[in-house]
């Protein structure tokens, strides 16, 4: 298990967390290379399906991160995201999905250090949880590349 | 009704008031309206707003001062302060709490002894008969305070007007009442 490198996808909004991650870079703060970022205009755009698909395609962990409450570039997108996340949490745990593998967080454009810290701690947590094959079995994907 | 406030764990007086009464003293911004409307302000060593201020300091020494103050016993519970407080702080409730503590920790201000004695006499009378017997109360109170001549003029006039009964009336449930008292104020 020691050589297990978790695959983590991060869905982030363009205005806060993506910029925050940029700041992590410009301030040269190091973090685990396991996390790879996909950019969205707003966390409001991020729906369940993406999270499920990510697991189905072998993600061991997922980070969803956007603007702090009231800082949303689109005034309320992050609130919808949060509401959706709460619903998802319920649903997911009901379906037997390991919700510890999803991390929802607020990271502003000024919180470069926070981003690094979130990535590192989460990576270690997921590393401890081990590879998430169970979902792939669970989802039974006939053809992984269906939509590619 | 109760302002929940998890952050406070310490057992300072401010925190205990919050636990005991659900009233959050931090809300007070010292506008002084309570003191302005208080009918007995001038009788008090600490007018209401100052009482709240003392609690806000969370300074043990000042809290001690407060429990030993005359103010808390001077408060007549007219509810004027509460009625006009812009922050709806239930000051009478706080006063009740402080009095109870002051009594338990027997820190009652010497000047307030009479007031306390009166209240005690009152309750004893109730405890004894179930209802208040004014004559009993007055007599008991005088025995406690030894100011035998206060109001001596009053009694005969009251008797003349049929306002004083020599034989107090007992309720049937006096034992019930005694048990209530023993479970609350007379709890050992």
């Amino acid at each position: 298990m020691a050589d297990f490198e978790p695959k983590i996808v991060a869905f982030v909004c363009n205005w806060c967390t993506y910029a925050g991650a940029d700041l992590t870079g410009t301030s040269r703060i190091k973090y685990a290379p396991n996390v790879k970022i996909i950019r969205f205009p707003c966390t409001g755009r991020i729906d369940f399906m993406l999270l499920m698909k990510s697991f189905a395609h072998g993600a061991d962990g997922i980070i969803v991160s956007g603007c702090h409450p009231n800082d949303c570039h689109y005034t309320s997108g992050n609130f919808h995201a949060r509401r959706r996340w709460m619903a998802f949490n319920e649903l997911a745990s009901f379906m037997g999905i390991d919700v510890n593998r999803v991390r929802f967080s607020w990271v502003s454009a000024a919180e470069g250090a926070k981003w690094a810290q979130i990535v590192n701690t989460f990576t270690e947590e997921v590393r401890a949880l081990g590879p998430y094959n169970s979902y792939i079995d669970l989802a039974k994907i006939e053809n992984k590349d269906a939509i590619v | 009704m109760h302002d929940s406030h998890e952050h406070i764990e310490d057992n300072g007086l401010k925190a205990r008031v919050l636990k005991g009464t659900g009233v959050n003293i931090a809300k007070c911004y010292q506008c002084g309206k309570c003191s302005a409307g208080c009918p007995v302000n001038t009788e008090m060593d600490f007018p209401p707003s100052v009482v709240l201020r003392l609690l806000q300091t969370e300074d043990p020494l000042l809290e001690e001062k407060l429990l030993r103050s005359y103010s808390i016993w001077m408060c007549v519970t007219c509810e004027m302060c509460y009625g006009r407080c812009p922050m709806e702080i239930d000051i009478p409730k706080i006063m009740d709490y402080l009095r109870e503590r002051s009594l338990k920790e027997n820190k009652v201000n010497p000047k307030a002894k009479n007031i306390v004695k009166f209240h005690k006499a009152f309750l004893d009378s109730v405890n004894y008969t179930g209802r208040l017997s004014e004559l009993g109360l007055i007599a008991d109170y005088k025995m406690r305070t030894f100011n035998l001549f206060q109001d001596v003029a009053l009694a005969p006039k009251m008797i003349a007007r049929g306002k004083l009964h020599f034989i107090p009336e007992f309720i049937k449930g006096t034992d019930k009442l005694k048990s209530i008292f023993s479970k609350t104020i007379n709890k050992k």
Binding site: E5, K7, V9, Y18, A21, D22, T24, G25, T26, R28, I29, K30, Y31, P33, K36, I37, I38, F40, P41, G44, R45, D47, M49, L50, K53, H57, G58, N70, H73, Y74, T75, S76, G77, H80, A81, R84, A116, K144, D145, I147, V148 | Y29, Q30, C31, G32, K33, S35, A36, G37, N41, T42, F46, P47, P48, S49, V50, R84, C85, P86, E88
Partner: protein
């Protein structure tokens, strides 16, 4: 088969120090659909960009991935380059190898692999990119200004002077708003009328401004640059063209005892009236509620006397429709009345007045010609008490917030009183003195130090009347909360500033949001203070929050600037990153099932219902439609849509899913 070009940038050594750029380029070259791949020291440099442009032409590339720094840094640069080479700029994406990779990881195999993964992800995305074209919407270069107070006036003049048309509507018979009622203004004590009336006249005379007084907004439709406003012009009972404003009608009107709104009920007006001498326009209106003719059906004295025969009893309200490109909301605020305060007598004491009433008493043009006299008996008050925070900072009975302007105007009132009544005593009960602002603190100190106003820190508990005196029982919290009782001749309440009447309804007409106190909300508390979250609608003045004159004027000019920017081009071009509800030919038309879950979640009210009709005009289907003029492209509706009928251009389900898959399957 796609023909993608991958351009890996070393960024000097910023990337190449930890990422093996050649390797990345080499591996990327093997990705399906990648026709060309190369690495270069500085992609953003001129030679770098030329390299890209030539590659596009030479290799007939139909998509670019520039693997360099953050798109927030150079996306515009490379998209421009692509466009210059004849490729649709939205077919160019950036892979962030610097901020998100080389700078945050050490030089290891893993780092280079991550770089490769990132590039692959973007390649897969760009394969699915579609050409997008900036949205162009025409702009009607006319602004609608709602409200003719100082904020509205300032905004209107600035917009007009920038060469644009302005339509101003004002609910009352004259513009001027609250400022026209003020006596002197802080912190300079210059006369309010003297500085305001010239601006009022300017509004009336500016050829770019069309002024409708006694008019209200009926409805507003459309979107930024293209609004349609319906305006109700209330019937004034006169013909404005023929009326010369001689004022004879007003003097002769038999109904004389109507409390004057302008004088805050301290004076009277007639049924046909001009609210105040300097009114703009200076022509009367007939107040139907009080006019004998409208009540009893006879009188018509004014009609008989009018030398030009301008009186018209036969007219009705008129609704006009105008097209505007932007809307400025400047509807101002109101203040609480004295009858709001139980402990101050529910308004039953004549000599307990509001700050605004004091302004009228102090005003040279007021009911007392500027002499301070008690409303009850006209006596000059020798002892006057000012009570601050009357209703403000009082969650229990009044409002939670601080009305902000009271500390300054109360200091001013105390000064004016002392200047007018030299032997008088002025007491001010306060909780805090909040006078942040240029020359403000100095001003309020002057009231205390030079004019001798007596400030007492404490809130007044009760005011009651006793043999012609007002007994004010307060307290001095700086003296162990010692009771203070003052036998005053007059009490002035610094009553809270609250949202204007009908603010809620107006907000609903305009589709703008308002806060818990019914003040209109700005789009962003720091960075978009004058915009609303409906594009093209802006705020000015105290309809946004209590504000003093300098602030209102500053905000109005800011808003005017925004409007001028909007009007500076004939067309609005906007990022095509917006949502769209799919449309197909018959019989499907759209996969939208019309649940309209999307409508309430849209922060911009951009989604509406659309009826799909056949040739003969029968409704076949009703589906959601995203108004491209209003959509800002957050994508919340997309995530919410149950039938996946909405796509966000540039972030389509297809694109992002491809990214996920590519990211995870190396």
């Amino acid at each position: 088969m796609a023909r993608i070009g991958v351009f890996v940038c070393h960024c000097g050594s910023n990337i190449s120090a930890t990422v093996d750029c050649e390797k990345v380029a080499a591996v990327a070259g093997q990705f399906p659909g990648v026709a060309y791949s190369i690495s270069y020291k500085y992609m953003c440099s001129d030679p770098g960009q030329t390299l890209i442009k030539e590659a596009i032409k030479e290799h007939k590339l139909d998509g670019l991935v520039v693997a360099a720094c953050s798109p927030r840094m150079h996306e515009p640069t490379f998209r421009r380059a692509a466009a210059e080479a004849g490729l649709n700029p939205y077919l160019c994406e950036m892979a962030n190898l610097r901020e998100h990779c080389s700078w945050v990881h050490d030089k290891t195999e893993a780092t280079t692999n991550k770089a490769i993964d990132i590039v692959r992800t973007l390649v897969e995305k760009v394969k699915r990119n579609t050409p997008l074209f900036p949205i162009r919407v025409p702009v009607t270069k006319t602004a609608l200004v709602i409200g003719g107070g100082v904020a509205g006036i300032q905004a209107a003049l600035d917009i007009a002077n920038a060469g644009n048309k302005v339509i101003m509507i004002e609910r009352d018979p004259s513009i001027g708003g609250h400022m026209s009622q003020l006596s002197e203004t802080f912190p300079t004590l210059d006369c309010s009328q003297c500085i305001l009336t010239p601006r009022m006249v300017e509004v009336a005379q500016n050829p770019n401004i069309t002024l409708y007084t006694y008019a209200e907004l009926e409805s507003l439709d459309g979107f930024i640059g293209n609004f349609k406003a319906r305006i109700r012009k209330k019937d004034k009972g006169i013909d404005e063209k023929t009326c010369t404003g001689c004022g004879l009608c007003c003097t002769k009107c038999p109904v004389k005892k109507i409390p004057s709104e302008f004088e805050q009920n301290l004076g009277f007006r007639t049924a046909i009236y001009v609210p105040f001498p300097q009114a703009v326009p200076n022509k009367p209106v007939i107040d139907r509620k009080n006019c004998t003719y409208y009540i009893k059906g006879k009188c018509r004295v004014c009609e008989k006397l009018c030398p030009t025969g301008a009186i018209r009893f036969d007219r009705e309200d008129e609704i006009i429709e105008v097209e505007v490109g932007a809307v400025v909301v400047a509807t101002g605020f109101e203040i609480l009345d004295t009858d709001f305060f139980p402990e101050y007598g529910y308004g039953k004491y004549k000599d307990v007045i509001t700050g605004m009433q004091f302004e009228r008493l102090a005003s040279a043009s007021g009911p007392t010609q500027g002499e301070i006299k008690r409303p009850s008996d006209g006596q000059v008050p020798k002892k006057i008490v000012f009570i601050k925070c009357a209703g403000s900072r009082d969650p229990a009975k009044g409002i939670e917030y601080c009305s902000k302007i009271c500390c300054m105007y109360t200091a001013k009132h105390a000064m004016l009183y002392k200047h007018k009544v030299h032997d008088g005593e002025a007491y001010v009960f306060y909780m805090d003195i909040r006078t942040a602002g240029k020359n403000y603190e100095e001003f309020s100190r002057r009231a205390i130090v030079e004019d001798g106003a007596r400030y007492i820190r404490g809130r007044v508990s009760k005011v009651y009347e006793k043999n012609g005196k007002l007994i004010v029982s307060g307290v001095d919290t700086l003296l162990n909360a010692m009771p203070v009782e003052i036998e005053a001749d007059m009490v002035v309440l610094a009553t809270a500033g609250i949202a204007g009447k009908g603010a809620e309804e107006l907000a609903q007409k305009l589709h703008i949001s308002y806060d818990q106190n019914k003040f209109f909300s700005e789009a962003h508390p720091k960075l978009k203070p004058v915009e609303t979250n409906t594009a093209g609608i802006f705020l000015a003045g105290a309809c946004h929050a209590p504000k003093d004159i300098p602030e209102s004027v500053a905000m109005a000019s800011g808003t005017a600037g925004k409007v001028a920017c909007l009007f500076s081009n004939d067309e609005l071009t906007r990022e095509p990153i917006i949502a769209e509800v799919n449309r197909f030919g018959p019989p499907l038309f759209s996969t939208c099932v019309g649940c309209y879950m999307c409508i309430p979640v849209c922060p911009y009210q951009a989604i509406e219902k659309e009826q799909i009709k056949d040739r003969s005009g029968n409704v076949i289907k009703e589906v959601a439609f995203v108004n491209p003029g209003l959509c800002q492209g957050c994508g919340t509706c997309v995530a919410l849509c149950r039938s996946k009928s909405i796509e966000l251009h540039g972030y389509s389900n297809n694109q992002v899913l491809a990214e996920v898959v590519a990211l995870l399957n190396d």
